[in-house]
Protein backbone atom coordinates (compact mmCIF):
# COMPACT_ATOMS: atom_id res chain seq x y z
CA UNK A 1 0.00 0.00 0.00
CA UNK A 2 1.23 3.46 -0.89
CA UNK A 3 2.78 5.45 1.93
CA UNK A 4 2.07 8.75 0.29
CA UNK A 5 -0.42 9.29 -2.47
CA UNK A 6 -1.56 12.20 -4.58
CA UNK A 7 -4.92 11.94 -6.33
CA UNK A 8 -6.46 14.21 -8.97
CA UNK A 9 -4.36 17.10 -7.88
CA UNK A 10 -5.07 20.46 -9.53
CA UNK A 11 -2.89 23.41 -8.88
CA UNK A 12 -1.99 26.62 -10.64
CA UNK A 13 -0.47 29.95 -9.84
CA UNK A 14 -2.56 32.94 -10.84
CA UNK A 15 -2.79 32.95 -14.65
CA UNK A 16 -0.70 29.83 -14.92
CA UNK A 17 -1.84 26.25 -14.41
CA UNK A 18 0.84 23.78 -13.29
CA UNK A 19 -0.97 20.53 -12.48
CA UNK A 20 -4.27 19.18 -13.69
CA UNK A 21 -5.57 15.84 -12.47
CA UNK A 22 -2.15 14.80 -11.36
CA UNK A 23 -1.54 11.41 -9.69
CA UNK A 24 1.51 10.16 -7.89
CA UNK A 25 2.34 7.65 -5.20
CA UNK A 26 5.32 6.41 -3.29
CA UNK A 27 5.77 3.18 -1.36
CA UNK A 28 7.74 2.63 1.85
CA UNK A 29 11.49 2.52 1.24
CA UNK A 30 11.22 3.33 -2.45
CA UNK A 31 13.43 5.96 -4.14
CA UNK A 32 11.99 7.92 -7.02
CA UNK A 33 13.96 10.28 -9.24
CA UNK A 34 12.23 13.24 -10.82
CA UNK A 35 13.54 15.12 -13.83
CA UNK A 36 12.02 17.71 -16.14
CA UNK A 37 12.60 21.07 -17.74
CA UNK A 38 12.95 24.30 -15.75
CA UNK A 39 9.56 25.53 -14.71
CA UNK A 40 7.85 22.14 -15.09
CA UNK A 41 6.66 22.29 -11.48
CA UNK A 42 9.03 19.95 -9.66
CA UNK A 43 9.63 22.32 -6.77
CA UNK A 44 5.94 23.16 -6.75
CA UNK A 45 5.10 19.47 -6.37
CA UNK A 46 7.36 19.03 -3.35
CA UNK A 47 5.93 22.16 -1.73
CA UNK A 48 2.42 20.88 -2.36
CA UNK A 49 3.22 17.56 -0.71
CA UNK A 50 4.30 19.15 2.57
CA UNK A 51 1.46 21.67 2.45
CA UNK A 52 3.46 24.87 2.04
CA UNK A 53 1.02 25.64 -0.73
CA UNK A 54 -2.47 24.16 -0.91
CA UNK A 55 -3.94 22.54 -4.01
CA UNK A 56 -7.03 23.98 -5.66
CA UNK A 57 -8.49 20.48 -5.90
CA UNK A 58 -7.48 16.89 -5.28
CA UNK A 59 -6.08 15.01 -2.37
CA UNK A 60 -2.79 14.40 -0.66
CA UNK A 61 -3.03 11.21 1.35
CA UNK A 62 -0.40 10.21 3.85
CA UNK A 63 -0.79 6.90 5.68
CA UNK A 64 -4.45 6.79 4.63
CA UNK A 65 -5.12 10.19 6.12
CA UNK A 66 -6.38 12.82 3.70
CA UNK A 67 -4.51 16.04 4.34
CA UNK A 68 -6.47 19.21 3.72
CA UNK A 69 -6.02 21.69 6.50
CA UNK A 70 -2.90 23.05 8.08
CA UNK A 71 -3.32 20.70 11.05
CA UNK A 72 -3.32 17.63 8.80
CA UNK A 73 -0.13 18.83 7.20
CA UNK A 74 1.40 19.43 10.62
CA UNK A 75 0.91 15.75 11.22
CA UNK A 76 2.34 14.88 7.81
CA UNK A 77 5.40 17.11 8.25
CA UNK A 78 6.44 15.15 11.33
CA UNK A 79 7.26 12.26 9.03
CA UNK A 80 7.79 13.81 5.61
CA UNK A 81 10.90 15.94 5.40
CA UNK A 82 11.75 18.42 2.66
CA UNK A 83 15.34 19.43 1.89
CA UNK A 84 15.45 22.75 0.05
CA UNK A 85 17.29 23.52 -3.14
CA UNK A 86 19.49 26.16 -1.55
CA UNK A 87 20.99 25.04 1.76
CA UNK A 88 21.28 28.67 2.83
CA UNK A 89 17.50 28.80 2.92
CA UNK A 90 17.36 25.88 5.25
CA UNK A 91 20.13 26.67 7.70
CA UNK A 92 19.15 29.63 9.83
CA UNK A 93 20.65 28.80 13.22
CA UNK A 94 24.08 30.01 14.26
CA UNK A 95 25.67 26.62 14.90
CA UNK A 96 25.37 23.22 13.28
CA UNK A 97 24.17 21.63 16.52
CA UNK A 98 21.36 24.16 16.99
CA UNK A 99 20.27 23.75 13.40
CA UNK A 100 20.07 19.99 13.66
CA UNK A 101 18.30 20.21 17.01
CA UNK A 102 15.65 22.62 15.75
CA UNK A 103 13.35 20.03 14.17
CA UNK A 104 13.53 17.46 16.98
CA UNK A 105 12.87 20.20 19.56
CA UNK A 106 9.75 21.18 17.65
CA UNK A 107 8.68 17.53 17.69
CA UNK A 108 9.02 17.53 21.46
CA UNK A 109 12.10 15.31 21.77
CA UNK A 110 13.29 15.72 25.37
CA UNK A 111 16.20 18.11 25.74
CA UNK A 112 18.58 15.58 27.29
CA UNK A 113 18.31 13.33 24.24
CA UNK A 114 19.21 16.10 21.81
CA UNK A 115 23.04 16.03 22.01
CA UNK A 116 23.04 12.28 21.34
CA UNK A 117 20.71 12.71 18.40
CA UNK A 118 22.84 15.51 16.95
CA UNK A 119 25.95 13.39 17.25
CA UNK A 120 24.29 10.39 15.66
CA UNK A 121 23.07 12.50 12.73
CA UNK A 122 26.50 14.02 12.15
CA UNK A 123 28.04 10.56 12.23
CA UNK A 124 25.74 9.36 9.47
CA UNK A 125 26.82 12.35 7.36
CA UNK A 126 30.49 11.81 8.12
CA UNK A 127 30.65 15.20 9.81
CA UNK A 128 31.51 14.09 13.35
CA UNK A 129 32.72 16.92 15.52
CA UNK A 130 31.00 19.66 13.54
CA UNK A 131 28.60 20.51 16.40
CA UNK A 132 29.93 23.94 17.27
CA UNK A 133 30.87 25.07 13.75
CA UNK A 134 29.10 28.18 12.50
CA UNK A 135 26.75 26.97 9.78
CA UNK A 136 27.05 30.07 7.68
CA UNK A 137 30.79 29.60 7.28
CA UNK A 138 30.73 25.99 6.14
CA UNK A 139 31.73 25.17 2.59
CA UNK A 140 29.03 24.64 -0.01
CA UNK A 141 29.28 20.87 0.17
CA UNK A 142 29.22 20.77 3.96
CA UNK A 143 26.21 23.07 4.04
CA UNK A 144 24.30 20.69 1.81
CA UNK A 145 25.07 17.74 4.03
CA UNK A 146 24.06 19.64 7.16
CA UNK A 147 20.83 20.74 5.47
CA UNK A 148 20.11 17.07 4.85
CA UNK A 149 21.02 16.38 8.46
CA UNK A 150 18.50 18.87 9.82
CA UNK A 151 15.80 16.78 8.20
CA UNK A 152 17.33 13.38 8.96
CA UNK A 153 17.37 14.26 12.66
CA UNK A 154 13.58 14.21 12.54
CA UNK A 155 13.74 10.57 11.39
CA UNK A 156 11.46 11.03 8.40
CA UNK A 157 9.61 8.20 6.70
CA UNK A 158 9.66 10.11 3.43
CA UNK A 159 12.48 12.38 2.33
CA UNK A 160 11.95 14.95 -0.42
CA UNK A 161 15.11 16.41 -1.94
CA UNK A 162 15.09 19.37 -4.34
CA UNK A 163 18.15 19.40 -6.60
CA UNK A 164 20.52 18.19 -3.92
CA UNK A 165 23.55 18.11 -6.20
CA UNK A 166 23.34 21.83 -7.03
CA UNK A 167 26.90 23.12 -7.19
CA UNK A 168 28.50 20.01 -5.74
CA UNK A 169 31.65 18.57 -7.23
CA UNK A 170 31.67 14.92 -8.38
CA UNK A 171 33.26 13.72 -5.14
CA UNK A 172 30.64 15.36 -2.97
CA UNK A 173 27.91 14.03 -5.24
CA UNK A 174 29.20 10.54 -4.72
CA UNK A 175 29.36 11.06 -0.97
CA UNK A 176 25.76 12.24 -1.00
CA UNK A 177 24.59 9.28 -3.03
CA UNK A 178 26.29 6.90 -0.60
CA UNK A 179 24.56 8.55 2.35
CA UNK A 180 21.21 8.45 0.59
CA UNK A 181 21.61 4.79 -0.26
CA UNK A 182 22.14 3.97 3.40
CA UNK A 183 18.85 5.53 4.46
CA UNK A 184 15.77 3.37 4.74
CA UNK A 185 13.29 6.22 4.23
CA UNK A 186 11.32 6.51 1.00
CA UNK A 187 12.77 9.30 -1.12
CA UNK A 188 11.73 11.60 -3.92
CA UNK A 189 14.78 13.23 -5.49
CA UNK A 190 14.50 16.08 -7.99
CA UNK A 191 17.59 16.57 -10.10
CA UNK A 192 18.78 17.45 -13.57
CA UNK A 193 21.64 15.00 -13.21
CA UNK A 194 20.65 11.66 -14.70
CA UNK A 195 23.82 9.82 -13.76
CA UNK A 196 23.37 10.85 -10.12
CA UNK A 197 19.75 9.74 -10.09
CA UNK A 198 20.73 6.39 -11.56
CA UNK A 199 22.99 5.72 -8.58
CA UNK A 200 20.14 6.12 -6.09
CA UNK A 201 16.72 5.70 -7.66
CA UNK A 202 14.77 2.64 -8.70
CA UNK A 203 12.53 4.65 -10.97
CA UNK A 204 13.07 7.97 -12.67
CA UNK A 205 10.11 9.99 -13.91
CA UNK A 206 10.02 12.85 -16.35
CA UNK A 207 7.68 15.72 -15.49
CA UNK A 208 6.54 17.99 -18.28
CA UNK A 209 3.32 19.87 -19.02
CA UNK A 210 1.94 18.65 -15.71
CA UNK A 211 2.27 15.00 -16.78
CA UNK A 212 4.52 12.33 -15.36
CA UNK A 213 6.09 9.69 -17.60
CA UNK A 214 8.40 6.85 -16.68
CA UNK A 215 11.86 7.70 -17.90
CA UNK A 216 14.04 4.97 -16.49
CA UNK A 217 13.27 1.85 -14.51
CA UNK A 218 16.06 -0.09 -12.85
CA UNK A 219 14.05 -3.33 -12.93
CA UNK A 220 13.56 -3.24 -16.70
CA UNK A 221 16.94 -1.81 -17.46
CA UNK A 222 17.71 -1.78 -21.12
CA UNK A 223 20.90 0.02 -21.90
CA UNK A 224 20.24 0.70 -25.56
CA UNK A 225 17.00 2.43 -24.76
CA UNK A 226 18.61 4.48 -22.06
CA UNK A 227 21.35 5.77 -24.27
CA UNK A 228 18.91 6.95 -26.86
CA UNK A 229 16.95 8.73 -24.15
CA UNK A 230 20.13 10.22 -22.82
CA UNK A 231 20.82 11.70 -26.17
CA UNK A 232 17.32 12.86 -26.79
CA UNK A 233 17.46 15.33 -23.93
CA UNK A 234 20.37 17.02 -25.61
CA UNK A 235 18.33 17.72 -28.72
Amino acid sequence: MALLEIRNLCFGYPQHSVFEDFDFSIFPGETIGLMGPNGAGKTTLLRLIVGLIKPQRGEIIYKNRICREEKDFRFLRREVGLVFQDPDDQLFCPTVAEDIAFGPLNLGVPREKIPGLVKETLDILGLSGFEERVTYRLSGGEKRLVALGTVLAMKPKVLLLDEPTGDLDPRNIERLSKILNKLSAAKVVVSHDLSFLKTIAEKIYWLEDGKLSLYYDVSSYDSSRLISLDRSIFH
Binding site: P94, T95, V134, T135, Y136, R137
Partner: protein, 201 residues
Protein backbone atom coordinates in the same frame (compact mmCIF):
# COMPACT_ATOMS: atom_id res chain seq x y z
CA UNK B 1 3.74 52.98 14.60
CA UNK B 2 3.18 55.03 11.47
CA UNK B 3 1.14 58.19 11.90
CA UNK B 4 -1.56 58.42 9.25
CA UNK B 5 -2.14 61.32 6.93
CA UNK B 6 -4.44 64.11 7.96
CA UNK B 7 -4.01 63.86 11.72
CA UNK B 8 -1.13 66.10 12.72
CA UNK B 9 -1.09 69.87 12.54
CA UNK B 10 1.06 71.81 10.10
CA UNK B 11 3.77 72.93 12.57
CA UNK B 12 4.38 69.35 13.67
CA UNK B 13 4.54 68.13 10.08
CA UNK B 14 6.97 70.86 9.15
CA UNK B 15 9.18 70.24 12.17
CA UNK B 16 9.29 66.51 11.37
CA UNK B 17 10.15 67.15 7.74
CA UNK B 18 12.91 69.54 8.77
CA UNK B 19 14.39 67.12 11.28
CA UNK B 20 14.36 64.29 8.76
CA UNK B 21 15.76 66.55 6.08
CA UNK B 22 18.73 67.52 8.21
CA UNK B 23 19.29 63.93 9.39
CA UNK B 24 19.12 62.62 5.84
CA UNK B 25 21.48 65.31 4.60
CA UNK B 26 24.09 64.44 7.21
CA UNK B 27 23.52 60.71 6.74
CA UNK B 28 23.96 60.88 2.97
CA UNK B 29 27.22 62.75 3.41
CA UNK B 30 28.48 59.81 5.46
CA UNK B 31 27.58 57.23 2.81
CA UNK B 32 30.25 56.79 0.19
CA UNK B 33 29.21 55.58 -3.25
CA UNK B 34 30.38 52.03 -2.61
CA UNK B 35 28.29 51.83 0.54
CA UNK B 36 25.05 52.55 -1.30
CA UNK B 37 24.24 48.92 -2.16
CA UNK B 38 25.05 47.87 1.39
CA UNK B 39 22.76 50.44 3.02
CA UNK B 40 20.07 49.68 0.46
CA UNK B 41 20.19 45.92 0.98
CA UNK B 42 20.12 46.28 4.75
CA UNK B 43 17.28 48.74 4.43
CA UNK B 44 15.39 46.22 2.32
CA UNK B 45 16.11 43.49 4.86
CA UNK B 46 14.71 45.65 7.66
CA UNK B 47 11.70 46.48 5.53
CA UNK B 48 10.97 42.76 5.17
CA UNK B 49 11.72 42.13 8.86
CA UNK B 50 9.22 44.80 9.82
CA UNK B 51 6.50 42.73 8.16
CA UNK B 52 7.22 39.82 10.50
CA UNK B 53 4.53 39.19 13.05
CA UNK B 54 5.71 37.98 16.40
CA UNK B 55 3.11 36.26 18.53
CA UNK B 56 2.22 37.96 21.80
CA UNK B 57 -0.43 36.08 23.71
CA UNK B 58 -3.60 35.86 21.65
CA UNK B 59 -2.50 38.69 19.39
CA UNK B 60 0.72 39.59 17.61
CA UNK B 61 2.97 42.58 17.13
CA UNK B 62 5.26 43.34 14.26
CA UNK B 63 8.95 44.03 14.63
CA UNK B 64 10.31 47.56 14.24
CA UNK B 65 14.02 46.99 14.90
CA UNK B 66 14.94 50.67 14.67
CA UNK B 67 17.34 50.13 17.57
CA UNK B 68 19.32 47.56 15.62
CA UNK B 69 19.21 49.67 12.45
CA UNK B 70 20.64 52.53 14.48
CA UNK B 71 23.39 50.36 15.95
CA UNK B 72 24.37 49.01 12.53
CA UNK B 73 24.03 52.12 10.41
CA UNK B 74 24.67 55.08 12.74
CA UNK B 75 23.84 58.33 11.01
CA UNK B 76 22.95 56.50 7.81
CA UNK B 77 19.82 55.40 9.68
CA UNK B 78 17.98 58.50 8.45
CA UNK B 79 18.30 57.91 4.70
CA UNK B 80 17.84 54.15 5.12
CA UNK B 81 14.58 54.48 7.02
CA UNK B 82 13.38 57.36 4.86
CA UNK B 83 13.63 55.12 1.83
CA UNK B 84 11.97 52.23 3.66
CA UNK B 85 9.06 54.34 4.88
CA UNK B 86 8.61 55.97 1.50
CA UNK B 87 8.23 52.51 -0.02
CA UNK B 88 5.82 51.44 2.72
CA UNK B 89 3.73 54.52 2.00
CA UNK B 90 3.65 53.73 -1.72
CA UNK B 91 3.12 50.00 -1.42
CA UNK B 92 0.84 49.66 1.60
CA UNK B 93 -0.39 53.19 2.20
CA UNK B 94 1.15 52.99 5.67
CA UNK B 95 2.00 56.54 6.66
CA UNK B 96 2.00 58.84 3.69
CA UNK B 97 3.69 61.65 1.86
CA UNK B 98 2.97 64.46 4.30
CA UNK B 99 3.79 62.39 7.36
CA UNK B 100 6.92 60.90 5.82
CA UNK B 101 9.13 63.42 7.58
CA UNK B 102 7.54 62.92 10.98
CA UNK B 103 7.40 59.14 10.70
CA UNK B 104 11.01 58.89 9.60
CA UNK B 105 12.11 61.16 12.39
CA UNK B 106 10.18 59.13 14.97
CA UNK B 107 12.03 55.98 13.99
CA UNK B 108 15.42 57.23 12.90
CA UNK B 109 16.13 59.74 15.66
CA UNK B 110 15.85 57.11 18.43
CA UNK B 111 18.04 54.86 16.29
CA UNK B 112 20.78 57.47 16.15
CA UNK B 113 20.46 58.24 19.86
CA UNK B 114 20.78 54.55 20.67
CA UNK B 115 23.79 54.30 18.36
CA UNK B 116 25.68 56.90 20.36
CA UNK B 117 24.50 55.66 23.77
CA UNK B 118 24.85 51.92 23.37
CA UNK B 119 26.85 51.38 20.17
CA UNK B 120 30.12 50.92 22.08
CA UNK B 121 28.47 48.54 24.55
CA UNK B 122 26.98 46.39 21.79
CA UNK B 123 30.34 46.26 20.02
CA UNK B 124 32.06 45.10 23.20
CA UNK B 125 33.69 41.71 22.99
CA UNK B 126 32.15 40.62 26.29
CA UNK B 127 28.86 38.99 25.54
CA UNK B 128 27.17 40.06 28.76
CA UNK B 129 27.90 43.73 28.16
CA UNK B 130 26.90 43.40 24.51
CA UNK B 131 23.66 41.71 25.57
CA UNK B 132 22.73 44.40 28.05
CA UNK B 133 23.60 47.06 25.50
CA UNK B 134 21.48 45.36 22.86
CA UNK B 135 18.47 45.06 25.17
CA UNK B 136 18.67 48.71 26.16
CA UNK B 137 19.17 49.76 22.55
CA UNK B 138 16.18 47.75 21.29
CA UNK B 139 13.87 48.74 24.11
CA UNK B 140 14.86 52.36 24.42
CA UNK B 141 14.55 53.00 20.69
CA UNK B 142 10.92 51.88 20.83
CA UNK B 143 10.22 53.86 23.99
CA UNK B 144 11.66 56.99 22.43
CA UNK B 145 9.59 56.45 19.28
CA UNK B 146 6.47 56.10 21.41
CA UNK B 147 7.27 59.25 23.35
CA UNK B 148 7.86 61.19 20.13
CA UNK B 149 4.52 60.06 18.70
CA UNK B 150 2.71 60.93 21.92
CA UNK B 151 4.39 64.28 22.09
CA UNK B 152 3.49 65.13 18.51
CA UNK B 153 -0.14 64.21 19.08
CA UNK B 154 -0.40 66.27 22.23
CA UNK B 155 1.19 69.19 20.49
CA UNK B 156 -1.37 68.94 17.69
CA UNK B 157 -4.30 69.32 20.11
CA UNK B 158 -5.36 68.72 23.68
CA UNK B 159 -8.08 66.33 22.57
CA UNK B 160 -5.44 63.92 21.23
CA UNK B 161 -4.06 63.38 24.70
CA UNK B 162 -6.03 60.19 25.33
CA UNK B 163 -4.98 58.74 21.99
CA UNK B 164 -1.40 59.67 22.82
CA UNK B 165 -1.57 57.82 26.13
CA UNK B 166 -3.15 54.77 24.52
CA UNK B 167 -0.48 54.67 21.84
CA UNK B 168 2.29 55.10 24.36
CA UNK B 169 0.82 52.21 26.37
CA UNK B 170 0.68 50.07 23.23
CA UNK B 171 4.42 50.64 22.82
CA UNK B 172 5.29 49.10 26.18
CA UNK B 173 4.89 45.39 25.37
CA UNK B 174 6.54 46.00 22.01
CA UNK B 175 9.43 47.54 23.89
CA UNK B 176 10.08 44.37 25.88
CA UNK B 177 9.84 42.13 22.82
CA UNK B 178 12.09 44.39 20.77
CA UNK B 179 14.62 44.35 23.58
CA UNK B 180 14.65 40.56 23.71
CA UNK B 181 14.73 40.11 19.94
CA UNK B 182 17.53 42.67 19.62
CA UNK B 183 19.64 40.77 22.17
CA UNK B 184 19.11 37.51 20.27
CA UNK B 185 19.78 39.16 16.94
CA UNK B 186 22.97 40.81 18.11
CA UNK B 187 24.28 37.54 19.51
CA UNK B 188 23.38 35.77 16.26
CA UNK B 189 25.10 38.38 14.11
CA UNK B 190 28.17 38.43 16.33
CA UNK B 191 28.55 34.70 16.07
CA UNK B 192 27.83 34.42 12.37
CA UNK B 193 29.15 37.61 10.80
CA UNK B 194 30.90 39.89 13.29
CA UNK B 195 32.19 42.03 10.41
CA UNK B 196 28.77 43.65 10.24
CA UNK B 197 29.52 45.47 13.47
CA UNK B 198 33.05 46.38 12.44
CA UNK B 199 31.95 48.86 9.87
CA UNK B 200 31.60 52.45 10.86
CA UNK B 201 29.29 54.25 8.52
Amino acid sequence: MHISEGVLSAPVLIAGALGTGIGTFIGLKKISVEKVPQIALLSAAFFVASLVHVPLGPSSVHLVLNGLVGILLGLATFPALLVGLFLQALIFQFGGLTTLGVNTFNMAFPGVVVYYLFGPLVRSSRSLIAGVGAFLAGALAILLSGILVAFELTFTGESFKAAAKLILAAHLPVMIIEGIVTVLLVSFLKKVRPEIFGQEV
